[in-house]
Subunit: 354 residues, 2 copies
């Protein structure tokens, strides 16, 4: 009897040991995204993240995704993740510049880095460390969340031939780029996505920028505006995964790494997918609407935009040491990276001619 | 007594169930890489892969890495992984063109796609499916393994002013690009890495290409050749992870996904790291050796190279239906992707002027 009890106790002990080592507790993360449900590309990034995380963890880490229709606060992601109402957000860092001005710098800056330059800065040039410093103040971790590639300068009803044509120009262009244009006499406005087509068609606005062919095609702007300008204001728009730090700290190390690597891959994949979608959609636009004219702003206009941009950055640097640290880091890094771009991709592309 | 036996049997049953579900068997993968031990960037990709995989799997999937000094067969990776002597290889697909001519197309092609264009093609434009078709014949899986970014056209002792200057030019340039130059009268040679510096210094060769500033700096070529030509022959050299399919199939689904996602991130990261290293190293070269001249081949030379390249591709397409399928896919995709590049990154970079 003693032997049998001992055997039972041994079995029970083994079972408990197995239980504690392999309990495989399930962790659940709630993710809120800025986008409407099933939004192309951006919405696929979060679905891809969920799938990678759940497969890699064999179901131990689960993610539920709430789109805009569910949480009703597309620009409330920062607050909701900070408060722990959600554990992860998928959005864009520059949306939070009203809450912390230094969040501005981690999406894309006018006349700033291209996507490969910016990824090099984030991961090997000190960018991640600076972003961490900004978000640590809010109990948040921030990671790149997918690049749209170079954004187009927008759809215009009239050609911009000189700075005079910017005077009073009503353009939907939000954020820092809007501030730049305002300094030059334009009237930047923000209008909800659903009303943009009508506003441009009825000339409530003279111009607008959205993203690029990847997401512009479905908006239909090419049907009502003849000029499509090349970009200057967001050369490499990077979305963002925002994570509540307390929640992150509560995950075991293996699941933290699963989440980190899955976010990293989802972000890079979004860049490749955006590039693909813009290639395919631009092909469609120019085949179906061959009269669309690609334009680049005249040098005098670009020079004035750049001066205005530099002045606005100088104001921010003077007002805040951390802003200065970030601005200086980006400028110094871009100088080196651009010199490489100039003799590599740019020289290659230009050497092929037409 | 019956109750106690039943209880024991139940306990034993539970333990077995726990054992089968949570056994957490450790899987071990042996990786062979083409590179010498601790090779910069390329060697960091495999170390990063190992670390991601082991952390994400909580030690259930382990990788041992053998560099060239261990396995002694830097260009035997394909054979060793095919034979199951190793489970994974880190190398480059175009090294295997002697074993299967269609492996040529998955690294980088002369006058081909840039890195963002090529990633878009691989992951969203049908590239992965074509690569899988080629490697399935060998019982292998192939994945992107990291991009060097645009490779420089090489270091030259004399300026190339016309096609005449290519006649008899002795240049270290291996592979398909070597075939292109041979058609134009040059004498391509291959020389082991360790002898390249002396060969160029003693004028045994007139020119050589290696990678770009990221890996050229340590070779010291800038000390002995004054002309650094921009690239045409490998605009987006992608390394390769090669996996033995039987070994892959023996892994549980969660560990397959851990490996897939870790390889994908390691590859993208290598692109960002290469971009970074070239930016930093080019800055060093041009600061320390301000007399280095960046040159682009004259248009007549580039046009002739492109014609020779097109002829060689046409020969391959005529000889093999799968080669034709791949060549056609790349050409059609590049036409669309390049039209997007032209109005996005290229237009942006060119609009900034000097």
């Amino acid at each position: 009897m003693l032997n049998k009890l001992t055997a039972m106790a041994t079995l029970a002990g083994l079972l408990l040991a197995a239980g504690s080592a392999f309990a495989d507790k399930t962790y659940r993360l709630r993710l809120a995204e800025t986008w409407p449900p099933n939004y192309p590309i951006f919405g696929e990034a979060t679905k891809s993240l969920k799938k990678m995380v759940e497969t890699m963890s064999n179901g131990r880490l689960k993610i539920t995704i709430d789109a805009k229709n569910k949480h009703k606060a597309p620009l409330g992601i920062f607050d909701m993740v900070k408060a722990g109402q959600y554990d992860i957000g998928h959005s864009a860092s520059y949306y939070w510049k009203g809450k912390d001005p230094n969040t501005l710098f981690f999406t894309s800056m006018p006349f700033g880095m291209t996507a490969p330059e910016q990824y090099a800065w984030f991961y090997y040039g000190g960018g991640m460390e600076l972003m961490a410093k900004v978000y640590a103040r809010h109990g948040l971790l921030s990671f790149p969340g997918g690049n749209t590639s170079n954004q187009m300068g927008g759809w215009f009803q009239k050609e911009i031939k000189s700075l005079d044509d910017l005077q009073g120009l009503k353009m939907r262009i939000p954020g820092f780029a809007g501030e730049v244009l305002a300094k030059l006499g334009a009237k930047p406005t923000n209008i909800p996505a659903g009303e943009l087509y009508t506003a441009l068609e009825r000339r409530t606005i003279d111009a607008l920028e959205w993203v690029g062919p990847s997401l512009d095609l479905r908006m239909g702007f090419h049907k009502i505006a003849p000029y499509y300008y090349t970009g200057w204001h967001e050369p490499a728009t990077e979305l963002q995964f925002l994570v509540n730090k307390k929640k992150w700290d509560s995950l075991p190390a293996d699941l933290q790494e699963v989440l980190r690597v899955a976010m990293r891959t989802a972000a890079y994949d979004t860049y490749a997918q955006s590039y693909h979608a813009s290639a395919v959609n631009w092909d469609t636009i120019k085949s179906d609407y061959p009269n669309i004219k690609i334009k680049t702003f005249p040098k005098a206009v670009l020079d004035a935009m750049r001066r205005a941009n530099d002045e606005l950055l100088a104001e921010r640097a003077a007002a805040d040491p951390l802003a200065k640290e970030i601005i200086d880091s980006q400028a110094a890094y871009m100088a080196k990276a651009r010199a490489w771009t100039a003799i590599s991709d740019q020289a290659y592309l230009n050497s092929l001619g037409e």
